[in-house]
């Protein structure tokens, strides 16, 4: 036996070394099922290589910045002019989108949707990679020293302005390992923007990204935008992933949708690590949108004295709107500030404007003039006033806009703000000095 080992000494050592490595692999496989720990040799290797990478990256960036910012300034004036023109265009576009966003917020508030807000990010510099096609990861220059923490349940997403990059896999002292979205072990919940089809974005061995789990009987158009769905509990919903490149029949009953990633993963230099995501419902203030001068003005006007309907007892203190809100005592209007209805949703601007005509018809001539002045600059909405002419009961705008009157009014529907006041508001509320400046009116 000894003779054989001596004779095949080199081969025996080879077998022993291979066996040791097989044993190490087996131990790692078992450990990863128990806990996500980092091997010491990994820490040593990363700690050795990343400082060198950092030094190289900072040196090359410094040289490049000096060259670009102080020497190579050709075409900067022309570019500046083009950018100024682009800003003007984008301002116009922004004004249009702001209206849409305000409307979307209102609808979300009504439906009680929870939104995810990226509340905290950390910029980081890409300093290196694994250098292997089998392991698509990058290293960033922020680590535990900078406050990053690795959490198995809630990995930190990494994005750029162009789209998503990946998620933080391991955090070392002064650097972190980021798993790219095109790695085979990666998975991102994705949704197609137009068709709203959901799937799982996975990487392929060749480095492509494929949207999986889309049924073969669905229609997917090349060029459609692919966004994060939020279903993976890692990436917030709505971030851009990329565009559909092509669609082929896949395995089983699913399509193979290849996705062209919007972010250039191999060239990304600066990234953002999302360190905190808040989940909350849009507030009533956000839901209401921007405050307009006309809204402030109409809020200062005295409320509509609602006449009790003929079939109700005269001594009833419940107003129609209070009844619609659950039958509690009527919210009273204080000086210049309307009380909120019990639904928790503040009355929106539309409801405020609706109450104006009714007010004007029952006020003094002087007051009529003020109201006429305040409303003359605002186009009158085509929606009928929310107070029913026959019963005096308050109806929601949805009913007023043509819904069936027998349908029950849901609680979050924006009820009109105006209720029966205990007494007329003081005269100083309507004095000219309390009016907003004319320039604020729209």
């Amino acid at each position: 036996m000894e003779n054989i080992i001596t004779r095949y000494r080199n081969f025996t050592i080879l077998v022993a070394v291979l066996f040791a490595q097989f044993l190490g692999l087996a131990m790692q496989v078992k450990r990863t099922t128990d806990s996500q720990s980092t091997l010491l040799i990994r820490v040593w290797a990363v700690s050795t290589v990343t400082p060198l990478e950092k030094a190289f990256v900072f040196t090359t960036h410094g040289i490049r910045n000096v060259w670009r910012n102080y020497f190579y300034l050709r075409g900067v004036r022309r570019e500046n002019r083009e950018l100024q023109a682009e800003i003007s265009q984008m301002r116009l576009e922004q004004a249009r989108l702001a209206e849409d966003a305000a409307q979307a917020h209102r609808l979300q508030a009504l439906l009680g949707f929870k939104e995810q807000f990226i509340s905290q990010t950390m910029p980081a510099q890409v300093i290196g990679s694994s250098g292997s096609d089998q392991s698509r990861i990058i290293y960033i220059d922020k680590g535990a020293r900078d406050g990053l923490k690795v959490d198995i349940d809630q990995p930190l997403p990494v994005i750029t302005d162009q789209g998503i990059i990946g998620r933080v896999l391991r955090v070392f002292h002064s650097s972190s390992q980021v798993l790219l979205v095109n790695d085979t072990s990666s998975g991102v919940g994705a949704i197609l923007e137009k068709s709203r089809l959901q799937g799982v974005l996975k990487g392929t061995p060749s480095g492509d990204a494929v949207l999986d789990k889309v049924m073969s009987d669905e229609q997917v158009e090349p060029g459609e935008r692919v966004l994060t769905s939020g279903g993976d509990r890692i990436f917030p919903k709505g971030l851009l992933i990329g565009y559909v490149r092509d669609v082929r029949p896949g395995a089983d009953l699913f399509l193979r949708v290849r996705v062209r990633l919007s972010a250039n993963l191999s060239k990304a230099e600066e990234v953002l690590v999302i360190t905190k995501v808040d989940e909350r419902e849009p507030t009533a203030a956000e839901a209401r949108g921007p405050v307009r001068a006309i809204d402030i003005l109409t809020n200062r006007l005295p409320s509509v004295p609602v006449k009790p309907p003929s079939d109700q007892p005269a001594n009833s203190e419940k107003t129609p709107s209070a009844a619609a809100n659950g039958g509690g005592s009527a919210p009273k209007t204080t000086a210049g500030k309307p009380a909120e209805p019990k639904t928790g949703i503040k009355p929106n601007a539309t409801a405020s404007v609706h109450s104006v005509p009714g007010v004007a018809s029952e006020q003094s001539p002087a007051l009529k003039n003020k109201v006429a002045t305040s409303t003359s600059t605002t186009p009158r909405p085509k929606v009928k006033p929310a107070v029913s002419a026959t019963t005096g009961a308050t109806t929601s705008p949805a009913v007023a806009q043509g819904n069936h009157p027998d349908e029950p009014v849901k609680a979050p529907a924006p009820a009109p703000m105006v209720t029966a006041p205990a007494q007329d508001p003081p005269a100083q509320d309507l004095s000219p000095q309390n009016q907003p400046p004319q320039g604020h009116r729209r």
């Binding site: 080199n10 291979l18 496989v29 060198l52 694994s130 292997s132 096609d133 085979t184 072990s185």
Partner: protein, 172 residues
């Protein structure tokens, strides 16, 4: 013919200084991790493998070859996110086979180096694939076309790299 049979007496055995023995593999690992961020195409190369082959062939010692390959492979694994040992096993095998071949063949010729590196790259990828797929069930791909192209690129780079590294050789 580039590859020629030689007697044991005709084959020269080389050794390297400690800075070269330590520094060259570390430099290869660093460049492999750093350069693909600047030149995307560079990820097709495997500098640590080329260094393993070079040292194994030059030393012509099987134990030295497999240990060099094992250490370089494990360090390369440490910079990736998969299990530590996948590259280690593949490079251990390549280091052993390369040094075994170096004992029997004269591989100083550029043509021989081109062919041998081409073959070792394919051997390395096959071993890696088998271990990753069969042993730890990792999702790794195997594409023959890409493999042949990558092997050719690495072989071409090896010819240049080995000529540079030849300057650090010392006769034992």
């Amino acid at each position: 013919m580039a590859i020629s049979y030689t007697s044991r007496e005709q084959i020269e055995v080389y050794r390297f200084s400690v800075p070269v023995t330590v520094g060259v593999p570390l430099a290869a690992l660093f460049l492999q991790a750093f350069l693909p961020r600047i030149i995307s195409f560079f990820s097709i190369f495997d500098l640590p493998l080329l260094v393993t082959i070079f040292f194994a062939v030059a030393r012509r010692n099987q134990v030295s070859g497999l240990l060099t390959g094992g250490v370089i492979g494990i360090l390369q694994d440490s910079l990736a996110h998969r299990y530590v040992g996948l590259y280690g096993i593949a490079k251990t095998v390549v280091g052993y086979v390369a040094s075994s071949l170096g004992v029997k063949l004269d591989l100083e010729n550029p043509g021989a180096r081109l062919m041998v590196t081409f073959g070792f790259y394919i051997l390395h990828e096959i071993v890696y694939f088998l271990v990753a797929r069969l042993l730890v069930r990792e999702a790794v791909g195997f594409r023959w076309g890409h493999l042949a192209f990558a092997a050719l690129c690495n072989a071409a780079l090896a010819v240049i790299l080995f000529m540079i590294l030849d300057r650090f050789k010392r006769r034992a």
